[in-house]
């Protein structure tokens, strides 16, 4: 949760970028240039540069491309999440398809940006992310619901999986409700009125769900590593 919910009134949103596509890089740079409340503090075009960049001053929003020439942007996302805990990380993707997005969320990203977004939309998304909002597609929502199914419902899951599940933070009823509305196609403002809460509350629910997803995926990774003897008990 960002400490400052209305950043436009104060210091500008510091954006960092890891992107090898020059066109998209330029699109981002020019879009940020038009936004008075944002400034680009760093830009990298490879995974290595991106990781080195993380030694520097933390940004408020980090935009990472997954397909970097020297490796996966996921590594950058994961490292950034550890080094810059307060930073909102979003990945840029051509299609916003489930596989890429889930992977990013589990690594610690809380948003994503479609590469064909118009400049104004791009700025809007960055601002929304910085303000605590997170985009969520119905397919992602359903995927998360399935991930968080209680062990007794996940009948097909192996036993040790259930054991991990019990260590993981479960979804609250309200969070679950939000996800279910999303799978039915409702937009966040519609969900807010259906649930009689504010739009902002719905956004925080989504953000919390993403955080839980990341934490649980880390728990599962540790559990997995322990059970395979890769990590001390």
């Amino acid at each position: 949760m960002p400490s400052n919910p209305s950043p436009s009134e104060h210091s500008p949103i510091r954006v960092a970028l890891v992107e090898d596509d020059v066109n998209f890089q330029n699109a981002v740079i020019s879009a940020i240039g038009t936004a008075p409340d944002m400034e680009l503090i760093a830009a990298a075009s490879t995974r290595l540069q991106g990781l080195q960049m993380l030694d520097g001053k933390p940004a408020d929003v980090l935009l990472v491309d997954l397909g970097l020439p020297d490796g996966s942007g996921i590594d950058v996302v994961r490292t950034a999440h550890a080094r810059w805990p307060a930073c909102n990380i979003m990945v840029s993707t051509a299609f916003g398809d489930e596989a890429h997005v889930m992977q990013s969320l589990e690594a610690g990203a809380t948003g994503y940006l479609l590469k064909d977004s118009a400049p104004e939309r791009l700025v809007l998304e960055i601002r929304s992310l910085h303000g605590g909002g997170s985009p969520i597609s119905p397919l992602i929502a359903r995927q998360i619901l399935m991930r968080f199914r209680p062990p007794d419902q996940a009948a097909a899951g192996p036993v040790e999986r259930a054991g991990v599940k019990s260590q993981c933070a479960p979804l609250s009823a309200r969070e679950r409700e939000v996800l279910e509305f999303i799978t039915k196609g409702f937009a966040s403002n519609e969900i807010a009125s259906l649930m009689s809460v504010s739009h902002h509350t719905v956004l925080t629910y989504v953000r919390r769900i993403y955080t839980k997803l990341e934490v649980n995926s880390r728990t599962e990774a540790i559990y997995e590593a322990r059970s395979q003897g890769l990590l001390a008990q």
């Binding site: 299609f95 398809d97 597609s137 397919l139 359903r142 039915k184 196609g185």
Partner: protein
């Protein structure tokens, strides 16, 4: 007559002399165990069977009596056709009459005559023996018993004449009546024990046979029954209780029954030790012995005297055979069962030997030796019962092992079959997978060809002719990207959830719609699952609705679009309603406009139905998705 009287008187004198020379038993000192009479007997063999009591009393014959020697328990002359005369002198030196009991304790002697003087003067004759009815006995007992009364201050001479098919064995004792009765009670109780045990074992094994249907139990029962009958024949109980009135039978019973017993034992051994399979050659020999024993049983009935000696040899040979077979199976074949059998048979043999040695006075007569044969037989029966029980255990264990092996085999076959099924299932899945992949490829190719492909080709042609500006090209490309995204989304399994599919559509197209200023009202309701909603069908639905949205954006001049779902018993309906200017549905369809006919074709391809209702107040696209699809 006078001469005759003189002769008789002379005879009497001579007899008196002879008697005087003989050892006289003073009955005044009774022994609680009875007194063995062997050493008091004077014995005369009569091979011609011609002598009468008068003859043996004649001085001439009387002098030929020989005093028996030694304090043995019995006189023994083996198998003989001769008659034996025994003379016994008894004296009562007391002043009161004394009652005594004379017992000949070998119950299978064929004929016994007792000659003894009456107190009132004159002689008395009692003719009994196993070859006469039991009723001839003055006292009912398994052995031959003669109660005597000796007057005060008197001497008596008692003559016994014996003839027998069985060996001439004469264990005679003189008892004080009370002592005899006590002895008799104990003796009967001991015999009772044996027969009681035998009866229980026989009955038990008959029941086992009834229950288990294994001939070995029946053979055992037969053997045990014949053994018990043989012993009853040898100890006089058969005569006393089973066949008291018979004469010829009771005389040969022990030989016939003995043979049959050995026959039964041979048959039982064959079955118990499984000799036909374990030692087939020896088994043939056993069969020969069975035949010989049966033949002997018949011969013993027909010519008892003639076969008595060879019968003994046959018994011995059979015993040796049984012992040898048992030992061979036990040691060479390592049959535990055979060890039991040998032990049992040895017990019987020991019993026979002990009884025999007792009879020939090598062993003293005591409770053990007197009942040696019974004891041996009892031990044998018990050990054989153990053997039979052990055999049952062996068979049961064998059966258990067989079942386990069968189970293991079954499990193995099951495993093999499972592996086979898994493999074939795997193959099927691979085939299915290949088919699915090929179908997916076809579907996507078709979709790209019809959608993006044609859009891009058209755009390219137009751009080449310079008739398209940047904004228009961007529009075409945006459409292509939308197409691509929906194609990718359609590859995620929606698991029959139509609302999820619609949600995806909204997520993708909503921003495009809203950017044109059209308000989207989402009025979906929960609807039942559509089982047939796979990626192929999903993409068709997405395309139909996408086309609908595109048409609204392009042509309808609408400000609001409402998306709703509904369900009836047969189908789920999706409606897209706009508040635009409407269009002539029939006309458009007649003209064969590409958009509408594409939608109709796609609907048909998935067994669904699409139609339009249009007025000046707006247009409604209705997509009806039946739960059971129409034939495609």
């Amino acid at each position: 007559m006078r001469r005759a009287c003189l002769f008789l008187g002379g005879l009497l004198l001579l007899v008196a002399h002879a008697v005087a020379a003989a050892k006289v038993l003073d009955v005044g000192r009774p022994d609680p165990n009875g007194i063995s009479l062997t050493e008091y007997f004077a014995v005369l063999e009569d091979p011609g069977l011609a002598l009468t009591i008068a003859d043996v009393r004649s001085p001439e014959v009387a002098s030929r009596f020989v005093q028996a020697s030694g304090p043995a328990t019995a006189l023994s002359y083996g198998f003989t056709r001769s008659a034996y005369w025994l003379r016994l002198s008894l004296r009562n030196a007391s002043d009161v009459p004394v009652e005594r009991i004379l017992e000949v304790g070998y119950p299978i002697l064929s004929n016994i005559q007792f000659h003894w003087p009456m107190a009132t003067g004159g002689d008395r004759l009692l003719a009994t023996g196993v070859a006469t009815p039991f009723s001839t006995r003055p006292y009912p007992s398994r052995s031959f018993v003669l109660p005597l009364t000796l007057p005060a201050q008197s001497e008596q001479v008692v003559y016994l004449r014996l003839q027998s098919i069985s060996a001439m064995l004469i264990p005679a004792r003189l008892w004080e009546p009370h002592a005899f009765h006590a002895h008799e009670r104990n003796d009967y109780a001991a015999q009772g024990w044996y027969f009681g045990m035998a009866a229980a074992l026989i009955l038990f094994n008959v029941l086992l046979f009834v229950g288990l249907r294994d001939a070995v139990y029946l053979l055992y029962s037969g053997f045990a029954l014949l053994t018990a009958l043989t012993i009853s024949a040898s100890n006089g109980w058969g005569k006393e209780f089973l066949w008291p009135q018979t004469t010829a039978w009771s005389d040969v019973a022990i030989s016939v029954l003995g043979s049959l017993t050995l026959t039964a034992l041979l048959l039982f051994m064959r079955r118990l030790l499984n000799t036909p399979e374990v030692v087939p050659r020896v088994d043939r020999l056993i069969k020969v012995f069975v035949g010989m024993q049966l033949a002997f049983a018949i011969a013993a009935a027909a010519w008892p005297h003639a076969v008595a000696v060879p019968g003994t040899w046959l018994i011995l040979a059979t015993a040796v055979l049984i012992l040898a077979v048992g030992l061979f199976c036990a040691i060479r074949m390592r049959q535990h069962l055979a060890m039991f059998f040998v032990a049992a048979f040895s017990m019987w043999l020991l019993g026979v030997i002990v009884a025999g040695l007792k009879t020939v006075t090598v062993l003293p007569a005591n409770a053990l030796t007197m009942n040696g044969y019974q004891l041996g037989s009892a031990a044998e029966m018990l050990l054989l019962a153990f053997a039979v029980a052990y055999r049952f255990d062996l068979i049961r264990r064998q059966a258990t092992e067989d079942v386990q092996r069968a189970n293991a085999g079954l499990a193995q076959r099951l495993q093999a079959r499972e592996a086979e099924l898994t493999a074939s299932h795997q193959r099927l899945r691979e085939v299915e997978h290949r088919q699915t992949l090929s179908q997916e490829r076809q579907r996507l190719m078709q979709d790209m060809h019809d959608g993006m492909g044609s859009a891009l080709t058209t755009a390219l042609r137009v751009v080449e002719h310079g008739r398209m500006d940047g904004a228009e090209v961007a529009q075409v490309l945006k459409g292509c990207i939308d197409d691509l995204r929906l194609a990718i989304d359609s590859m995620e399994p929606v698991e029959s959830d139509l609302l999820l599919l619609l949600a995806t559509l909204r997520f993708r197209l909503g921003p495009r719609l809203e950017s044109t200023g059209i308000a989207l009202r989402w009025e979906v309701q929960d609807v039942p699952l559509l089982e047939w909603l796979d990626p192929r069908n999903s993409l068709h639905i997405l395309r139909i609705l996408q086309e609908g949205f595109t048409n609204i954006i392009k042509y309808a001049n609408a400000t609001e679009v409402r998306v709703a779902t509904a369900a009836d018993p047969d189908a789920v309906t999706v409606t897209i309603t706009d508040n635009g200017s409407g269009f002539d549905v029939d006309g458009a369809l007649m003209k064969g406009g590409k958009g509408l006919s594409n939608q109709k074709r796609r609907a048909q391809a998935i067994g669904a139905e699409v139609r339009w209702e249009s007025t000046r107040a707006g247009t409604r696209l209705i997509l009806r998705l039946p739960f059971v699809r129409l034939a495609t």
